[in-house]
Symmetry: C2
C-alpha cells in the first residue's frame, strides 16, 4: 500500500463516518478537511470532486454491509438465515444508537427524483439485497417451509421496505421497538411465529 493509497483510505474511512452521521448533502468537503486534517488540494487530488467521494463512500459502505450480513448467517435452514440477517441489521443499528439510519435509504431520499449516478447505485444495492432474500425464500419454498401464497420476489421486496421504514422510525424515536416489532410481523408472515 503506497503512501497515497493509505491517505485515500484514511480519508474515505473518516468521510464515511461523517456521512453516516450527517448525510451526504449535509456533509461539506470542509467537514472532511477539518476531521481528517487532509488539505484541500490533496483531497481533490485523491477524489475528482464531491460526487466521486460520495459514490466511493456508498460503494465502500455497501461492500462492508453485505460482508457483515453474510458473516451473520449461523442458521442452517433458509428461514433461519433470514432471521439471522434481520437480527444482524438490528444489531448494526443498535450499536450505532440508531444514529444515522440507513445510509442507502438516506441517499435515495436525499437525491430526490433525479436519475443520477447515486440513484442508480442505490437501486443496485437494494436489488442485491432483494436477490439475497428472494434466494433464501425460494429455497424455503422448495422444502415446503413457506406458507401458502407467499411468493419469494414480492416478499423479499416487502422485507426490504419494512426494514427501511422501521429503521427510519427507530432513528426518529431513538428506540429499537419499531424494528423489533416489524421484524416480528415479518416472521409471522413467514410462519415462523
Amino acid at each position: 500500500m503506497t503512501k497515497g493509497e493509505e491517505t485515500r483510505a484514511r480519508v474515505l474511512e473518516s468521510a464515511m463516518a461523517i456521512v453516516n452521521r450527517k448525510g451526504l448533502r449535509n456533509t461539506s468537503m470542509q467537514d472532511i478537511i477539518d476531521e481528517t486534517g487532509v488539505k484541500k488540494g490533496n483531497l481533490y487530488f485523491h477524489f475528482s470532486g464531491k460526487d466521486d467521494l460520495g459514490l466511493s463512500i456508498i460503494r465502500e459502505a455497501a461492500e462492508r454491509y453485505f460482508e457483515y450480513l453474510s458473516k451473520s448467517l449461523s442458521s442452517n435452514d433458509p428461514l433461519g438465515k433470514i432471521r439471522n440477517i434481520l437480527e444482524a441489521v438490528l444489531r448494526f443499528h443498535r450499536r450505532r444508537g440508531f444514529v444515522g439510519g440507513c445510509i442507502f435509504g438516506n441517499t435515495a431520499l436525499e437525491m430526490g427524483d433525479t436519475d443520477g449516478e447515486y440513484t442508480v447505485l442505490v437501486k443496485e444495492i437494494f436489488e442485491r439485497w432483494v436477490r439475497i432474500l428472494a434466494g433464501l425464500l425460494r429455497e424455503a419454498g422448495k422444502s415446503g417451509a413457506l406458507p401458502a401464497g407467499i411468493r419469494p420476489e414480492p416478499m423479499a421486496r416487502h422485507i426490504v421496505s419494512v426494514m427501511e421504514g422501521s429503521i427510519m422510525m427507530a432513528r426518529l424515536y431513538k428506540r429499537e421497538d419499531p424494528m423489533v416489532e416489524s421484524m416480528g410481523y415479518i416472521q409471522k408472515l413467514l410462519g415462523m411465529k
Copy 2:
C-alpha cells in the same frame, strides 16, 4: 381575507409544492422567490425565516393530508376503513407519479439526528397517524375481526413503517408495485386476504 393573508397563502401553496418535489434542505428561499414572484422583503415579512416557512409548510401539509384521508373512509367496518386509508395513500402518490415521496418521512430523514422543531413536529404527525390506525384496530378487535395475537398499537406502528418504507421504494423505482405489494401483506396480517 386581506391582501396580505392572500399573499401568505399563495406563497405557502407554491412553497409546499416545491418542497414536496425537492425536499426542504434542497429548496432555497430564492427558489420560492423565483417560482412565486414574491419579492424577498415581502417573503421575510410574511415568514420570519426559512424555518418558520418550513414548519408552516409541514403543518399545512399535515392538515391537508389528514383531511384527505378522513374523506376517503367509505367503508363501515374498521378494517375496511384501514384499507380505505391505505388505498387513499396509494392514490395520493400515484397521482403524483411517485415524485417527492412522503414529505414527513423526507423531513424526518433530512433533519438527521437533531432534536429540533422539525423532528418534534414530524414525530407528532406520525403519532397522530398511529393513533388513528390503532383506534380502528382496537375497534376491530372488539368486534372480533382481528386475528389472534395482533395488538393494536404495535400493529399501527408497523403499518406506518411499512407505508413509509414502501413509499420510499415506490419513489425510487417510480413504480406502484412496492406499495401495492406491501399493502397486500398488511391485509394478510390483518386476516383480510
